[in-house]
Symmetry: C2
């Protein structure tokens, strides 16, 4: 604990203009500010790793969604892992490791109750943004609350090498399912099959997805973990089994053109097949976060839960990292190393 007075400056990326289509560096601006005086209950942290996630594209539209949009001139939102450098709160001391929503900036002043303290000697800090963080919990909540996979069922996961998909598929394997991934490119597909242990992985680039799915899922599809939308969604929907469950987690293929989205699948099959299609926003179930960390940290420690990260160096490269995530240019969980 300190008296709240901090000397120094922070750098932050603020939204300069709302991007049309793919966001880029020109849509953000780096600003420098003096660090504020801490109010009672506040903690100052320096950012170690910044999380880059597809949902961030939605925050750049000027509309009310499940969360408020980022305002032009405001610091871009995002989760990060940081180290405490100042605190007015008992229980938070310099050197403590925390995770929370702290935005695209080198330092953040946060209310202590919005931060979760991490074990410095536990999993690598960046994993609390990926496999043990929001994406991991998303996969866990989707499988637990909607998918309810049973042994012997066929599960398809799109964006299978991504931070969410890679965990979703591994959970389905643990449940005894046959798991088919869909990913972009041979390298990702190879990793999904060989390292994650999926039964098969379909490369959606330049391939007849419907035909490949039919070959990989001879008994149809019981659970679909949806991360991409578009043509992949339509191909999977056409092969769902009766009583299939669809976890609608993301539709990254269309985040840049959502103001004029392409038409979707005709839903007549939903009646015939009694399909359940359900949207998932992980923050609706905050209790799943500590539950997942407790469950999965031992799996990360013993190496049985695999993950992969793409680490980009430097806060100034966060916009480019976001563009990569939206175009599938990353491999696994995208994080920006800030300090």
């Amino acid at each position: 604990m300190t008296d709240g007075t901090i000397h120094g400056v922070r750098h932050a990326l603020v939204l300069k203009r709302r991007p049309h289509g793919m966001p880029g560096a020109g849509d953000f601006e780096m600003v420098e500010e003096r660090l504020p005086v801490l109010a009672p209950g506040e903690v100052l942290t320096r950012t170690l790793f910044l999380s880059i996630d597809p949902y961030m594209r939605g925050r750049l539209y000027d509309r009310t969604s499940y969360a408020a949009p980022v305002q032009v001139g405001g610091v871009m939102t995002g989760e990060s892992v940081g180290e405490v450098v100042g605190s007015t709160v008992p229980g938070f001391a310099a050197g403590d490791l925390v995770v929370g929503t702290r935005g695209w900036q080198t330092h953040a002043v946060t209310e202590a109750k919005a931060l979760v303290k991490l074990d410095r000697h536990g999993a690598p800090p960046s994993t609390y943004l990926g496999v043990l963080g929001m994406p991991g919990v998303t996969a866990y909540s989707g499988m637990t609350d909607i998918g309810r996979v049973k042994s012997g069922e066929t599960v398809v996961v799109s964006a299978a090498s991504g931070a969410v998909g890679s965990v979703a598929g591994q959970l389905a394997k643990r449940a005894g399912a046959r798991v088919i991934g869909i990913a972009g490119g041979a390298e990702k597909c190879l990793w999904v099959q060989e390292t994650l242990g999926f039964d098969d992985c379909i490369d959606h680039r330049g391939m007849d997805i419907a035909a490949a799915l039919l070959a990989a899922c001879p008994h149809g599809i019981d659970v679909y973990f949806e991360n991409v939308g578009g043509a992949v969604q339509q191909a999977v929907f056409s092969q769902l089994n009766p009583f299939a469950r669809v976890i609608m987690c993301g539709m990254v293929a269309q985040y840049n053109d959502e103001l004029a989205p392409p038409p979707g699948a005709n839903l007549a099959f939903v009646v015939r097949k009694r399909v359940r299609i359900e949207g998932l926003i992980v923050t609706d179930k905050p209790e799943r976060f500590p539950e997942w960390r407790a469950l999965a940290a031992p799996w990360v420690a013993d190496g049985s839960l695999k993950y992969r990260e793409t680490v980009v160096d430097g806060l100034e490269n966060a916009p480019e990292a976001l563009a990569q995530v939206l175009s599938g240019g990353n491999f696994g969980k995208m994080v920006v190393k800030v300090a």
Copy 2:
């Protein structure tokens, strides 16, 4: 009980050819057969009322759906209320009233276990095909198992004057919801509002449905009971609230062109709004049938549960009655009076 020997003939409508588009009289053929000898466990009934329902269109396609298709040369399937005229089964005597799946024919031989005995002095026999029958149970199961309407919510019901929609909306009113119907034509809309007691009813013919919905549902839509599909579906989907539930019961607007169905709504909103879209086939929950009859028969008796029937006279007019149901030409539950 008899010794199983029955004298006489039955008339039956068999499928002559698979219809393209709207089914008509030319797609069926009336045949005459001698009544068979009853085997042990069988009951012979003469048909009083035949139920005509939109789902029947699906049985005319040559494909496996949730139920087997009707074969060319086979008797058209359907529920009916009948009177026992012969029986080899204790507990079923001449004059007993029964309901069951007995097809488009004047007489049917049925296994006793497939029949439900009705109270001769209870509700009018035809109601066991409508408000107290499969359509009523469908509405009840949809609202109970998927909709879970809470007081104060806004519920939209399409085909609101139909056998399913009229019950679904009345159940939502009983639950304390604001209920908006969608129906075809001023006469139906008036009945939905004045007799059924819905808060409003939108005529989808020659109207901007989206604008009318916006006016009728200023707080958005929490539950949608889907019976029609097409343009109505897309208009409703665009105004669903977060955590909305969609009971996918039927899409009658496209039953005749389902082999090349129109594109559906883009489902990006399902993620953002955590919507649940769930298919319903009422026979999956057989326990709901007796439950509903016990619950709703007193409401029919005391007049608090309203219903309306269109009665067509003569088995030979069943195909035309089906065409009417598929085009919205009926009003309320469509039944054919056979005997």
